[in-house]
Structures are given as C-alpha cells and as structure tokens.
Symmetry: C2
Subunit: 544 residues, 2 copies
Amino acid sequence: MNRKKSAEEEIRFLLDQVKQGRIDAAHAVKALDISRLDEILHRLIKAPSVEGLPKWTGGISGAPGAAVGRAYFSADALLLARKRGEACILVLPSAFAGDVKAIEAAAGVLTAQGGYAAHASVVARQYGTVSLVAPELTITGTKAVLGSLVFCEGESITLDAPYDGEPSVYRGAAELTEPDIAESSLFEFIALAKGIIKQFQVRANAETPTDAERALSFGADGIGLCRTEHMFFQPGRINTFREMILSEGAEARQQALEKLRIMQRDDFYRIFKIMAGKAVTIRLLDAPLHEFMPNTGDELTSYMDHLSASAGAPISPATVLARIEALKECNPMLGHRGCRIAVSYPEIYAMQVSAIFEAAHALVHPEIMVPLIMNAAEMKLIAYGKRVTGAEYAGIADMAGPLPYKIGAMIELPAAALGAGEIARYAQFFSFGTNDLTQTTLGLSRDDAAGFLPAYTRYDLLPDNPFRVLDRGVKELIALAVDRGRLARPDLVCGLCGEQGADPAAIRFCMEVGIDYVSCSPYAVPKAILAAAQAELDRADHGS
Amino acid sequence: MNRKKSAEEEIRFLLDQVKQGRIDAAHAVKALDISRLDEILHRLIKAPSVEGLPKWTGGISGAPGAAVGRAYFSADALLLARKRGEACILVLPSAFAGDVKAIEAAAGVLTAQGGYAAHASVVARQYGTVSLVAPELTITGTKAVLGSLVFCEGESITLDAPYDGEPSVYRGAAELTEPDIAESSLFEFIALAKGIIKQFQVRANAETPTDAERALSFGADGIGLCRTEHMFFQPGRINTFREMILSEGAEARQQALEKLRIMQRDDFYRIFKIMAGKAVTIRLLDAPLHEFMPNTGDELTSYMDHLSASAGAPISPATVLARIEALKECNPMLGHRGCRIAVSYPEIYAMQVSAIFEAAHALVHPEIMVPLIMNAAEMKLIAYGKRVTGAEYAGIADMAGPLPYKIGAMIELPAAALGAGEIARYAQFFSFGTNDLTQTTLGLSRDDAAGFLPAYTRYDLLPDNPFRVLDRGVKELIALAVDRGRLARPDLVCGLCGEQGADPAAIRFCMEVGIDYVSCSPYAVPKAILAAAQAELDRADHGS
C-alpha cells in the first residue's frame, strides 16, 4: 500500500496511536501538517475532472477551497438562482457591504478588485465561501473575460483557490471532493491540541448565531470580533439605518435609532445565548456611513420606491443623491469611520452600547471594543464621557449597568500603537486590527493593492502578501504597543483580530510578544488551534 | 505716540539699533515676533472696511492672508475673467491637480473639501494665493451658500484666512493692506537672521522658474522639494502625458515619453540655471496616473475633441472612459502612486532621470528623491536596478553620467521610518514627507478630515491640526528613522519637506533630532529662517 493517507485517515491513525498509548498527545499534534486540514475543511478539485477544460491561471486566493456553480453577475441574479436551488458563483468587478447575503449564499466569489484582506475575501472566509481575486477580469453585459477565457452569465465555471500556490478559473464544472466535517475525527483531534495549549486562546470572528455555533463546534474559546455593521444589511433593516442617516432632526434620528436598538438587542441576545459564559468581544460601528447608502442605480431605484411607499407619495431622489454625494470621500479608509463617527454622532454608539447591555444580562460579560482609536483623548471620551460647554457626552461606562464588562481599544493605526501607554489608561484590553494596521503602516490599500502587487512579486520586493503574513514593521508596532500598554496597565489583555491571525507564524509571534488570543474566521479556527498547540510544544522543547 | 509700530517699522527700528551698535544681531532676531512677518508677506483686511458686510465665520485657513475678488465656480470661468483683468476668487467643491493654473491666477480659493494639507491649500501657499476651506459650502448652479451667507457667481467676495484665529468669508469687497515686499527691509533682516544659523538650512518647495527666483529672493538655501507632476499640467502637455498613459504598445509609449523628456529637460534646465551651485532636490513622479485623466465632463469633451482632431476622425470616448474607470481606486492615497508607479512602469522614472541628468550638466548636483518608499528592496531596485529573468530594471545609478548626484528616499510611511536602517544602505539622503507620514500614522486623509475635525476640536481630542503642527507619533517615527538611518550611514543627510516645515516648533524639533534642513513654500521661507535663527539662539542660551 503506497497510497498517501487522506487527511482524515491520517488524523484517525494518530488518534488511535494515542489511544493505544504508542505516542503521547504532543507527538500526535506535532506530527500533523497544518495545511492538511484544508482537505477536511474545504472542497478540493478531483484532478482528472478538469483535464481539457478551458483554464485561466493567476490572481489571488481570497478564501481557500474549490467551488463549482453557474456564474451570476449581480447579487440579485444570484439570490434568485439560489432560490431555484442552483449552485452559484458570484462574479463582480468588486463587492460591497450590500453583497454579504449573496456571498453567503454562493459557492464561490470571483472579483476583479480586492485582495486577501478585501471585503469579499473576508466575508467569504467567514462563511466558508471560496473567493478568488483576478485583477484581469472584465465584465461587459453578460460576458466575462479573463485572458483567453470567456464565459457568459449562467454558464458553469469552477474556481480553484488553494491556500498556497496559484489559483485557477475553469469554464465548465469540475468534480469536487466532499468534505464531511460532521463525520470527521477533526473535532477529537482539535480537543487533543487544545489540551496542550496553556494560556493562549483562539477566538472566532462571528456575527450571526450560525457563525457562533460553527465557531464553538470548531473549538473556539469565544468570539474575538463581532462586527456590528453586517447586522444592518439585512432587508428591512438597511432602510431603517438609512432613515437614521438621512433624518434631519434629533427626534426623527432618535426614532430610527430606537428601531435599530431593538434589532441589535435581539441579535446580540441570540448570539450571547449560544456563547453563554464565554468571551464575546463586540466591535462598535466601524464602517463609514456611505457604505450603507445605495451603491448602484438599481439599489437607488428600489430605495426610492421604498421611500415613496412609506411616504404615500412619490419622493424625488434629489435629497438622497445630495446626501450620498456629501458622504463620499477621497480616501474612505482614512476618513470618517470608526470611533470618528461616534465623535460626530454620539447617539449611534449609545444605541449600540445600550443594546449590548440589555442583551447581555446574565449570559456573558461583554467586551466592548472601539475601532480606529487614534489617541488617548478619543478613548477617554468614548469610554468615560465628558462634559463640554452646553452638552454632555455619555461614555460607555456611564451607560453600564451592574453587570461586569470590559472596554477596549482597537489598535489599528501606527499613532495608536505609539501612544499605547496613554491609551491603556482608559482601555482594559487591546485588540490589534492588523488589516488596518497593515494598510496604514505600509500605506497600502487592501482594495487597490492587487493591481500592482504582481509587479512587486516579479522583482521580489515584498517577502509575502502582508495581508496574509504579518509585515515586519507591523510586528514591531504591535510588540511596542503591548510593552507600552502593559507598562501602564500590567493586566492589560491583548488580542489580535486581523486576517493574519490564522497564520501559524503570526500565532507564534503573538505567543512570543505576550498576546493573549487571536481571533480568526470560524473555518480557520481548527488550523489556528493546531498552530498554537505546535508553537506551545516548540516553546517547551526550547525551554522558554 | 501710543500707536503700535507696523511690522515694517519694527524691523527698520531693530535694524537701526543693530547698525548703531545698541543691540547685537542676536538681540534683534530674538526681539521680532515671527507671526508679524505675515503683515509684510500677506495682504490683510482693513477692519473698518468690512463693517456691515454679510459675514460667515468658520472653516480652516489653507493659506494665510486676505483676498478680494469676484467669485468664479470653475477654473475655466476664472481664467477667462482673469484675461479681462478681474481679481478673482475660485470657488469649488474641491480642487484637482488640473486646477493649478487657476489657483495661481486667483487672489483666493474657497473650497468645501480639503484642509490645511489638501491639494488646493498646498498649491495656494506655493503661489501666495489665499485659501480657505469651508466644509459647509454648497454650490448649486450659479449660487453658493455658506450658512446664511449667499452669493452668486460673478459677485465680489472677501476671504479672510488668518494664520491663527478663525477665518471669515464676506459678501462684498473689503479694503486690504498692500504689502510692498520689494521696498521692505525684510530681506535685510532675514540676512541678519541667516548669519546666526550655524548648520541648519531652509530650502523652498519650488517647481517653476518664478518659484525658484522667489525662493532665492526670500533667502532659501536651495530647493528641497521640486515636484515634477505639476509640470505636466500645462496646456499642450497634459495631452502628451495622457497619450503616454493610454498608449497600447511599448513603441507608442516611448514616443510620448520622448516628447515629455524634452519638456522636462527644458523645465529643469531653466530652474537649474537660476539655482546654479545650490541644492536642488527633485521628487520623481508621485501622483497616481488617474489624476492626469479628465476629471469632469467638460475636460473629457475637450480631450475627446483633441483626440479626434489628432486622428483626423471622430473618436468614441469608450476606450478613454474604460481606461479612466480602470485607473480609479478606492483609496488612491494608499494606492498605485509614488515609486509603485515606477515598479510597474520603469520607463516613466527613466524618462525623468534622463531629463534631470541632461539638464544638470555643470549647473547643479541634482538630488533625486524617490517618493513613497515602503522598504529597502524598492529603494535598491529603483536606485541601483536589478536583473530578473528575461528583463533588466535600469536603476537611477545606471543612468547617471559623470556628474556628482545623490539618490534619496522619501520617508513618508511608518514602515519606511521603521525600516530606515536598511533603506539608508541604498539612500544617501532622507526627506521626511510629513504630509503623507501624518496621513498614514494617524490614518487621517487630509482631503476628508475637514469634515469631522471640527467635532474633534469641540471635545478637545487633538491638540493641534496635525497637518500644521507635527503630531507626537509622527515626531517619534521621524526621530527613530534619523537614528536608524545614521547608524547605517553616518553621513546620511536628512530633510523635512512637509507642510509642517514652516512651523517654528517643527523647526526646533528638526534641529533637536539632527535634521539638516526643512523645505517649505517660498512665502514661508522668511518665517522659517527667523524661526531657525531663534531656535539656534535658544540652544546657545541653554548651552546645548
């Protein structure tokens, strides 16, 4: 028998050896190659089935795995096809926050703009959807072109996005392996690995009950990043959020906020019930407001129809268009977002915080984190409020009830890393948002970099994709921030919640500099646990 | 006589005292308040003349001084009015690179978007044009609205943009003081101050012969920042640059580049002749390519007319529109710009470098600086070239003739500051681009910040406008980069060429950390020299 064991067979073999006392848990955990978990967690192509299919090779894997489905060129067309039961691939120039539902429903996503850390990829990894970014992709009408590969809307295509190695797109349907996670010994093996880890935690990024359940089943120690913006994108909610943005007076805004508060409270409650007793870290609103406004002509038309129906009379789009225009920014990544929105509109965070405390009661001790902190003054204001002439800014602590909770700062700007000592005076924990910290440290937009990074690879100018493997400068800033933060507050808890959190080298780095946990997408949790256990064993071997 | 002396009278008085031997130069230099130079360098409002004029107060001073003129809502309308000899104020939602000519021709610029370090303000300071940024400004048709202040295109308005204090806009024409620089004793006083400075240099940002002459007359030690992109915006040139961007084959691109090379060589020659024997630091192309494409419908129409005329047949705009679309980015500030353009298109920097060396001959020893350096690998490639499979990348050093020259790196990303030790191995000088370093360190877009910074002022969250006064974190990164750079290359020359370079506190900081020069707009040079001399005297007093 010369055939290589499948990953499942390998894991069962190792577990049997442990049970029979032939090897100990440490040996078993060290023996398994982390990348082999992909075979269990993701679908893969059966090689003979793609022979002869027209093929394009290139681009970047946004979320690993292989996917087969009919190509659809809009979220709406895809969701309609899903209702008919088709397997679908979403093909778009670039994906917006409003495409989340379609990304969840799709087997795969193919976009021209983006990269490993861009929106489509992050959301895809979250839901186990395959994602491939191909900057060459052009879509005209119902035809998509990728080099010499041409396919039409509705045609079957195959995406192959390996974690390592070059991705491919095929015209036609390949045969895929069917991973059967439920029947897998993976869970038992992960439990074995978890037993080896001493202090370090692996948490998951999760923002729906499904995510939370999946995270727990994969062995996550809690939720390290619960983004709150996606909760507003569901149909029926997005318009309430828009109502809040467009409201002219304080009263109209308060009415819209009250509706949103009820929705958020119920969302949080469902997640908290699943996570009862475990850590749940909630990030307050981070996205710029313009992301919530209609992005395309179709979205605008449908929104105007909604407004006219609510008003009982046709409404002209002029005001809405003017507001959309006013919200546009030259560089939204460096613009009015994160806690800057709360500085301008305190009532938005107040609504979210009130929903969190109401939902938490005896279930969890919420950890509330504030995104895009730049300096200690912001952190102090948002956490503890301030009285200024003629007004009072209510801080998170002012709204808290008797329940224990924590307030933390996301460290995702170089200024925040450098000023960590002062920020820690007002933050009980830090969460390093390494996506944004990488963008600002390197001056590199994750949504635009895919276009010019290939030339960088050609001349060998970057050792790795910095959105997947932590950059040197980013690591220096993180290490410095942990040190400065702990000097000010020795019991400061530190986590890392960027996309690099799933990378074994990043986990090793986190353990070295004293970070307490990483948070990554649910599907990456098993690999992260295995990586943490292996790093722990290495440290023990080297006597550190 | 209780009347306060005018700045001119004060300067003459101090110079007389020195000549009569009553005080020494040090006393005279210490006695003059730097901000009083504004009275000589800029027009100011005669207070009684604005009594009763409708007034709006707020916004940010982009370039100091006061201006009166008729309001025009487009660069074209303004340039036409200037031809009729009118004094004009440019009023726009936001200014683009193509508006440079109009900003130069205008007495003042009023924009809604932007800030102290935004495009319109930087260009305005360069040309001595007054600039005021008022986020509240809305323009509809031929009417502009600022709170309760309403004015129409063609109507006279007055801008008051003090360096310190709150700006105002008036409907109607105020009377202004007329600074008479030519007759002023300022130049004599500046020479006195320069005599006190030991090592430190004040250079100017200059990119035209007029700028260069003005810089010299104001006492500048050389040019610290010669931007090369504005040279391409002149009529007749922009279309050649677009031809280069749009060219399909290598040959067509080479033809367009050759035309651009001749233009740049002649521009450089004119500047070098004025600066003969002095330092001239040239920044290679930094702007993203999309800035050179038509921005408005009118620009596109006129460009399509030009293309059709060149081709002798009407040309459809589809290809041009597709290319404009392809060049658009989500966050251009963090996108395909700076040396990243040279990594993708080596021929652009090759053209510029060849033009510089050809123009320099015996006149100057050019200092060529590479913008947006992220790491040492980029710097090595661009400075010294590389052979990769199937191609050769020609470095600046490969193209140099026998003339002495220097190659330097702009340190404007946190990653570059942290990696300064390695970068210095391939760079003979550093120039700290503090506009971009501030944007990336704080994650703050200078074009978008004006919209939310007022709320920051309300809660006292930022000690100063970080685009005018160096931020703490930015200073820490600069100091660290100087140290790491000098450790690798002890004779590394360091300069600072951001907008903060004119701030007395920044000059003091530069002298403390061992930076050799600042570079600022020509009109700010006298204040910078005075600040450097005062800092020098303070250091002497404190025995450091």
